[in-house]
Symmetry: C2
Subunit: 407 residues, 2 copies
C-alpha cells in the first residue's frame, strides 16, 4: 500500500444526482477482499458525452465507448478495477460485449447504451464469469455513496478524488458531480485515468459533447505526470435531466454559460486531483505560458516544460534552474526567440529578454520553491497565445514505484 | 565527483592525425585546477562539416558554428569547459567574437575559419579576459594526447570517450579519430554533447557535410538519455587531407564508400559512449523497430519507446513489461495496429499479433534483463520501415544527480 500523497485533498461532500443509482460489488478480479466492480444505473433519456485516449493501442473498452457515444444516450456504466483488459485481442472484446448484453437484458435497453471501463493488469482477458457474477451481485446490492464509488474504481490511487459544482440554469439549480481515478500505478499496470461526471441538468448530447471536449482541451489534456499516455484513458459525462430545466442545446439558451462554467470547474478540479496523486509527487506545478504565436503553440511549449525530466527534477530539488526552462522552450519545436524570453518563478522575474536579471532577489524565489505549489511563468514575447498546464515534480518516489518492482 | 559509469569502456589507443596539432591550457573558467581550454590547430586547407542542436534557444557558439560552416574551411577549434555562455545575449556573442579574432590574428587566417564551443554554467557571459589569457597560454603550450583533449573538454563526464577507425581510400590508408563529451551534467548546467572528429583524409567540404549529416541521422540523432535537448549540442568533423588521397567529392570516387563506412562507425561509437555515460545509467538499451510504414516513422516510434519514463524504469527494475512498450508505440502518433504488434526482449518473442504469447519461457527473458545490454525488438507489422535507437535506463541515480542539488 502506497502512503497517501502529500498533495492529497480531503474528499468533498457531494450531493446525490437525480436519476443516478450507484452500486458496487466484489467481482474479485484479483485476489483481494474489496469491491472492484462499479455499476451505475442512469434514468431513461440520460445524455452522454465522452473523451478518450489518443493512444492508438487503445483497449476494447475505449473502442466500445467511442462506438456507443455515437448514440448519445446511456442507461448504465460499469467499471472494472484490477484488470484493464488491454492488449487482449478478440477475447477482450468478447468480455466487454458479454457485459453490455447482460446489463442490457437486465435493464431492457439497447447494449449500445451501456458503457464499460476497465483498469488494472494488462494482457489478461477480463474473466467473463467473474464479471457476470459481479454484475449479478451489483444488481441486488444496496445503493452506495460517492466515496464508495471512488474507492471501487481506484487501483493504486493513494486518495479518493471527487469534485462538484452547481449552477442556475433557466431558474433551476443543477448539480454536477465528478469522480476520477488515476496516476497511482504499479507495473504491470499502466497509469489509467478514468473519470466520470454526473449531472441532473437536461442537455442535448451534442452540446454536452461540445462542452466536454472544450473543457477537456484545457483541463485533462493540460495535465501530465510523466508524458506517458495510457491505452485506457476515458472521461464520460452523463446528464440525467432530472433537474427539470429546459434542455440546453446551445450557448443561446439561458444558463448555458453557467452550466459550461460549472462543468469546466469540475473538469479542472478532477484534472488537478490526478496530478496531486502523481507517482512520487511532492510538489504541484502550474506552468503558464504567454506571448506565444497561438494558444496551441503555448500549450505545446508549456507541455514541453512540464514533461522535461530536467525541469521536473530541478523543482524536486527546489532549484530555480531557469536554464532548464529555456532548454525546454527551445526544444518544443514552436516559434520562440531566445532573446525575448522572460521567466518567472512564483511572482519573481528571474530572466528577461534572454538574459538573467542581475542581482534579482533570490529570497522570495527560494521561499516559493520550498512550498508545495509551484508556479512557473514564461513569456515568449512574440504574440498573444497563452496556455496553462499542470504537472508534478520527478522524485525518487517515481523511480521507486516504477522500477523497484518485479512483475 | 561522480563515480565512473558502470557502462564505461576503456579509452582506446588512437593514432595522431596529420595536420592536427592539439594543446590544452588553464583558463580557470571555474575555481578549479585543471585544464579547461582546448586549442586545436588545423593545417591550411582543412575541410570542415558540422551538425548542431535543433534547440531554438541555442548558444552564440552554435550560431557561430553554423555561420562559419558555410565557408567549409577550418584552421582552429577552441573548446571552453566550465561556462556554456548560453543565454547570455550580445555579451555572449562578443566573447565568442573576441576568441575568433585572437586566434585569427595568431594564425593569420580569417576569423570565419575558427570554430568555438563552450560547455558549463549557463547565464554567465564567458569572461573575455580568462579566454584571452587561456588562449595565450595554449599557443605556447606543449602538444598533448587525445586523452588530454577528452579530459579537457569534459565537465561532469564520468569517463573519457574516444573512438577511431581507418579505411583505404584510393590506395592510401586514412585515419579517423573522434572525441566526445556529454551526458554527465549537474545543475545549473544542461547536458551538452560536444563531439569532434578529425581525419587525415582529403575530402571536399560539401561531401563531408553530406556524409556527416547522413551518419548523424542514424547515430547522434538516434540516442536519447532523457528526451531533453541541449542548447549547445555540436558535432564537427575536420579533414586535413594529409593522407594524400585524391580528394573525395562524391560516392563515385574510389574509397568513398569505405570512408563513409569508417566515419559512420566512429559516429556510432561516439554516440553509444554518450549513452553509456547517461546520468544514472545502469543498463544500455538498444531498441529496434521494424515493420513500420517508413524508416522515419520507425525512428519516431523507437524514440517514443526510448523516451518513455515507464519503459526506462521497467528496464531499471529488470521487468519484462511489454505492456509499457505497447503504450509507448501507441502514443508515438505514428501508424500502428495494436493487433499486429510483436515484441521481443532479447531473443525471446513475448507478444505477437497483439496478444501475449501464452506460456512463453520467461527464463531467458529474465536472464537477458539482468544483463547490462538490453535489446527490445518491436515489429509493427505494417510495412518495411525500420530504425534502431539507443538509450539507458532511468534510475535513482538520475534523480540524485539532477534533483539532490542546490544551485
Amino acid at each position: 500500500m502506497m502512503s497517501t500523497s502529500p498533495l492529497a485533498l480531503p474528499f468533498p461532500d457531494m450531493p446525490e444526482i437525480g436519476g443516478v443509482t450507484k452500486r458496487v460489488a466484489r467481482a474479485r478480479y484479483k485476489d483481494w477482499d474489496r469491491c472492484d466492480l462499479t455499476y451505475v444505473e442512469l434514468c431513461e433519456g440520460t445524455a452522454v458525452a465522452g473523451v478518450t485516449t489518443r493512444n492508438i493501442c487503445c483497449s476494447a473498452e475505449v473502442e466500445l465507448c467511442r462506438d456507443n457515444l455515437k448514440g448519445g444516450l446511456a442507461r448504465a456504466l460499469v467499471v472494472n478495477a484490477g484488470n484493464s483488459n488491454a492488449f487482449t485481442g478478440h477475447r477482450g472484446r468478447e468480455a466487454v460485449d458479454a457485459i453490455t448484453e447482460q446489463v442490457a437484458a437486465h435493464l431492457g435497453c439497447a447494449p449500445a447504451q451501456v458503457f464499460v471501463s476497465s483498469t488494472g493488469v494488462i494482457g489478461v482477458p477480463l474473466p467473463k464469469d467473474k464479471a457476470e457474477a459481479g454484475l449479478n451481485a451489483a444488481f441486488t446490492a444496496e445503493t452506495c455513496s460517492w466515496q464508495d464509488i471512488t474507492d471501487t474504481i481506484g487501483t493504486t490511487d493513494t486518495f479518493a478524488k471527487g469534485a462538484s459544482a452547481s449552477a442556475m440554469v433557466g431558474g433551476k439549480r443543477i448539480e454536477i458531480v465528478g469522480v476520477i481515478k488515476g496516476s497511482g500505478m504499479i507495473a504491470p499496470d499502466m497509469a489509467t485515468m478514468l473519470g466520470y461526471i454526473f449531472t441532473d441538468a437536461a442537455i442535448e448530447p451534442g452540446f454536452l459533447q461540445h462542452l466536454l471536449s472544450t473543457s477537456n482541451g484545457a483541463t485533462f489534456n493540460c495535465i501530465t505526470v510523466d508524458s506517458d499516455t495510457s491505452t485506457s484513458d476515458t472521461v464520460l459525462a452523463f446528464a440525467t435531466g432530472k433537474a427539470g430545466n429546459a434542455p440546453l442545446t446551445n450557448f443561446d439558451d439561458a444558463g448555458a454559460d453557467a452550466f459550461a462554467s460549472a462543468l469546466h470547474d469540475v473538469c479542472r478540479q478532477l484534472a488537478h486531483l490526478v496530478v496531486r496523486d502523481g507517482e512520487g509527487a511532492q510538489k504541484f506545478i502550474e506552468i503558464n505560458v504567454t506571448g506565444a504565436v497561438a494558444d496551441e503553440s503555448a500549450r505545446r511549449i508549456a507541455l514541453a516544460i512540464a514533461n522535461s525530466p530536467l525541469v521536473k527534477t530541478a523543482i524536486a530539488g527546489e532549484d530555480a534552474n531557469w536554464g532548464r526552462v529555456v532548454m525546454a522552450v527551445g526544444k518544443a519545436g514552436e516559434p520562440a526567440d531566445r532573446d525575448r524570453l522572460s521567466i518567472r518563478f512564483g511572482a519573481t522575474l528571474v530572466a528577461q529578454n534572454g538574459l538573467a536579471i542581475e542581482g534579482y532577489d533570490e529570497t522570495p524565489v527560494a521561499a516559493h520553491l520550498k512550498g508545495q505549489e509551484i508556479r512557473i511563468g514564461v513569456d515568449i514575447g512574440l504574440g498573444s497565445g497563452s496556455a496553462t498546464v499542470w504537472t508534478c515534480d520527478l522524485t525518487h518516489g517515481y523511480i521507486s514505484i516504477n522500477a523497484d518492482y518485479r512483475s
